[in-house]
Amino acid sequence: MFAYIIKRILSLIPVLFVVSVVIFSIIHITPGDPAAIILGQEATQEQIESLSEQLGLNEPIIEQYTNWVMGALTGDLGTSYFMRETVEEAIINHLGPTLSLAIFAEIFALIIAIPIGIIAAYRRGSWLDQSLMGISLLGMAVPSFILGLLLMLFVGVQLQWLPIGGYAPLSDGLFTHLKFLILPAISLGAIQAALVARMTRASMLEVLNSNYIKTARAKGVVERRVILKHAFRNAFLPILTVIGQSFGTLIVGAVVTETIFNIPGIGQLIINSVERRDYPVIQGVVLIVTFIYVFINLIVDLLYGVIDPRVRLDKK
């Protein structure tokens, strides 16, 4: 088990290396000068050149890359051109809101999706199944920004029940914290909910037809226990994969939702940094996000073992 984890973590290194080379090349090939953005639309060429020089943008690309990699290896991702903070600080400051939002959206998605999936599978073919699956299809089809804007308009502006945007950290109190996150979490979680619901249904159907379920029923096990304990547990493996992937997507994919609801998360950080050509931040964020993504996949793989003894890794 331990050796496996180490192996998996080591296999991250080439991934991160390739990602860093690709991202470094892309952002430097893209036209646009950070100095011009810092100085603003009305800056003259002379000013831009002098600031580029100071920022070290005139050095050869290879040299810039080596400097950056050397820094990254020692844990120094550089300093933002635009914000007066290091890349590490910028990421940490923006990671909190994103994680909160992702966790909350995931919880929302699971609370909705798993019961729907189970009920739909249990009542397969009924009008209930069909309408639930219809709704989930709709959930997948509506882009999160449209759902977000609609929620903002009705719940925020018309009914004024919840704030239309912004963010309050957990330290302001759990209630205040959640108040700001409800609408974005719903708009972000809806697609995931639809996905998980469909996956749950499919997976449950497969299991419900298997012999051990028949056996369990024949033994006279209570139906609820058959569904939740015998069927659901065995159906959970593919669902877990979807959850793991979707959580990764929630972290990196909240860009639009964060912009609409003005949540200062990683998505906004990366959008702003691209617009500002804040190279160190773009590189740093992509690197960290890649790491998180791969890390979540690793956790999911390890969780397989917890749920299903057959895929346990330490069995010799």
Binding site: T30, P31, G32, D33, P34, A36, I37, I38, L39, G40, Q41, E42, A43, T44, Q45, E46, Q47, I48, L51, Q54, L55, Y81, F82, M83, R84, E85, I92, N93, H94, L95, G96, P97, L99, S100, I103, M152, G156, V157, P163, I164, G165, G166, Y167, P169, L170, S171, D172, T259, I260, N262, P264, Q268, N272, E275, R276, I299, L303, V306, I307, P309
Partner: protein
């Protein structure tokens, strides 16, 4: 079985604890800040003034170092923190602010500033001549316009409470340059100036009515009332005169999405929303409990590439200028007649002395037949003409599209290339990449500061224009200077390196609970109160 479930649950708990730890870490600062807010709320209930003003602004400033930025987002905040020796009154004339008085020597090369006494910085230290000399000399180096217009000038201490500006040659517009708002000469403590690096000062300390508290990147900039502020006694006029901080805290909330700014105003999340998009003006105007404030703030200027390509030929520029229907262009760019005005002047329309209509004959001609003749004369043969633009500024993009449409109807081969702002700014500095572009150019205080006359902006290479500009700057009397500028603007319309399409107003919306708000070239938050 149970054990394994337990294993999985505990793994999840550990994971969420890690995540929560991450998010907690970053919020410590905000805790302190929210405690402050509670205190100020208590204070607010005691009297009419006080409380917290929240203004939604469209972009995060790159820095708050006023001396080295032309970013509106930065300057609009910095103006509340810093003050200058001289500033603009409502007629856009330079008048003393931190200076008590200003004297010019007879030959016009020496200016002596006597400082006001008893002024303290936000850090509690008194303002001294040393601070002023350090600040002003840094400004002479950091500000592009100061470098261009005040070459080899320098500030020196000349008495106990006096500093002197020494110029190489006479310049009638020195005080106007010093009162200019872009890269303004903020007075800061000497230590702050000395510890500044190439990206700017590291501490934001000034003498203004509000002091810097905290900057949460991409979230907000927090200023608070400066209790020891020494206000002038004279009445408020423009940026000059008495300033009073009537709220305890100001939050400049960075809200990039314009519909979120508007929705936030409606729901009371923000008290003021800056930069209302033109397309939503009518909607915001009709909202209950919301007031709109409009003020002229920039020109939409059309730049030609006079150095390279088809547009280097003046006949071509004349042909295009003759063809354009500027009514259509301005309508498409700003959508509502309330927010723009057709006028060929390069200078602020409210600045009566400088505002000029010279060049009216070459403005908004809209004569396609004549244009066709000129095109034939120029020998235009379907060469591709490239307009670069950016959708980051909708009005620039719309103007480009309408110009393209009008010229295509004339049989010209015009392409619009749309980029994001960063790419646009880079291409603009490469003359081989473009023939024409539209840009919104903020108002300046004197013609010498105009981007249309700045060779570094769009590559203007015209000795005649520079000579005429020198005549404006060295004129014996202000009246001569105004007359010379009139001539120069006329010349700009003859030579057609640039054309002003028109003037645009900025829109700010405030909610009903904001009183006393009066913008001047920008949102001004002193003398403004907010009720719950």
């Amino acid at each position: 079985m149970r054990k394994r479930w337990f294993g999985m649950i505990s793994l999840m708990i550990v994971l969420s604890l890690v995540l929560i730890a991450c998010s907690d870490d970053s919020e410590e600062t905000k805790t302190n800040e929210s405690n402050n807010t509670e205190e100020t709320e208590e204070k607010a209930s005691e009297g009419a003034t006080g409380g917290e003003l929240s203004i939604a602004i469209p972009a995060q400033p790159p820095t708050l170092d006023a001396q080295m930025t032309v970013s509106t987002a930065a300057l609009n905040i910095a103006r509340h923190i810093y003050e200058t020796l001289v500033t603009l009154n409502e007629n856009y004339e330079p008048v003393p602010m931190l200076a008590e008085s200003v004297d010019m020597s007879d030959d016009g090369t020496t200016y002596t500033f006597t400082l006001r006494e008893g002024i303290t910085f936000h850090n509690g230290e008194e303002l001294t001549t040393e601070d002023v000399v350090a600040s002003m000399n840094r400004w002479l180096e950091t500000s592009s316009r100061a470098k261009l217009l005040l070459e080899e000038a320098s500030f020196e201490e000349s008495g106990e409470n006096e500093v002197t500006l020494q110029l190489q040659e006479r310049a009638a517009d020195v005080l106007d340059i010093m009162a200019g708002q872009s890269e303004f000469p903020a007075i800061m403590p000497k230590e702050v100036i000395e510890s500044a690096d190439e990206t700017g000062v590291t501490e934001y300390i000034g003498t203004g009515p509000f002091q810097f508290e905290e900057w949460r990147q991409d979230q907000y900039v927090h200023l608070s009332k400066f209790e020891d502020y020494q206000a002038l006694e004279s009445e408020r006029s423009g940026l000059s005169g008495k300033k009073e901080a009537l709220v305890d805290d100001i939050y400049f909330e960075i809200v990039t999405d314009p519909s979120t700014r508007v929705a936030g105003l409606q729901t009371g999340t923000y008290d003021i929303a800056d930069e209302i998009p033109f397309e939503t003006y009518e909607q915001v105007e009709s909202m209950e409990g919301v007031n709109t404030h409009l003020y002229f703030n920039r020109t939409l200027t059309w730049f030609y590439n006079t150095n390279e390509g088809v547009m280097a030929d003046q006949k071509m520029r004349e042909a295009i200028n003759t063809a354009l229907n500027i009514d259509e262009i301005m309508q498409a760019s700003y959508m509502n007649e309330d927010v723009y005005e057709l006028n060929p002047g390069h200078m602020n329309l409210n600045q009566v002395n400088w505002a000029s209509e010279a060049g009216m004959d070459s403005y908004n001609i809209n004569d396609t037949e004549k244009a066709q003749e000129l095109l034939d004369e120029a020998g235009y043969d379907g060469e591709q003409i490239t307009i670069i633009t950016t959708r980051d500024y909708g009005y620039m993009y719309n103007a480009a599209i309408v110009v393209q449409e009008q010229l295509n109807q004339l049989g010209m081969n015009v392409e619009v290339e749309n980029y994001d702002l960063a790419t646009f700014l880079e291409l603009k500095n490469q003359p081989s990449e473009w023939d024409m572009f539209a840009a919104g150019t903020g108002y300046v205080t004197i013609p010498a500061q105009l981007l249309a006359l700045n060779p570094g902006f769009a590559g203007l290479d015209d000795p005649t224009a520079q000579e005429m500009l020198a005549e404006v700057r060295t004129a014996e009397t202000p009246e001569d200077a105004y007359a010379n500028w009139d001539e120069l603007q006329g010349y700009l319309y003859d030579s057609l390196s640039t054309t002003v399409f028109g003037h645009q107003k900025d829109i700010i919306a405030t909610s009903d609970n904001v009183q006393g708000f009066e913008p001047f070239q920008a949102p001004i938050l002193w003398d403004t109160t907010v009720s719950e």
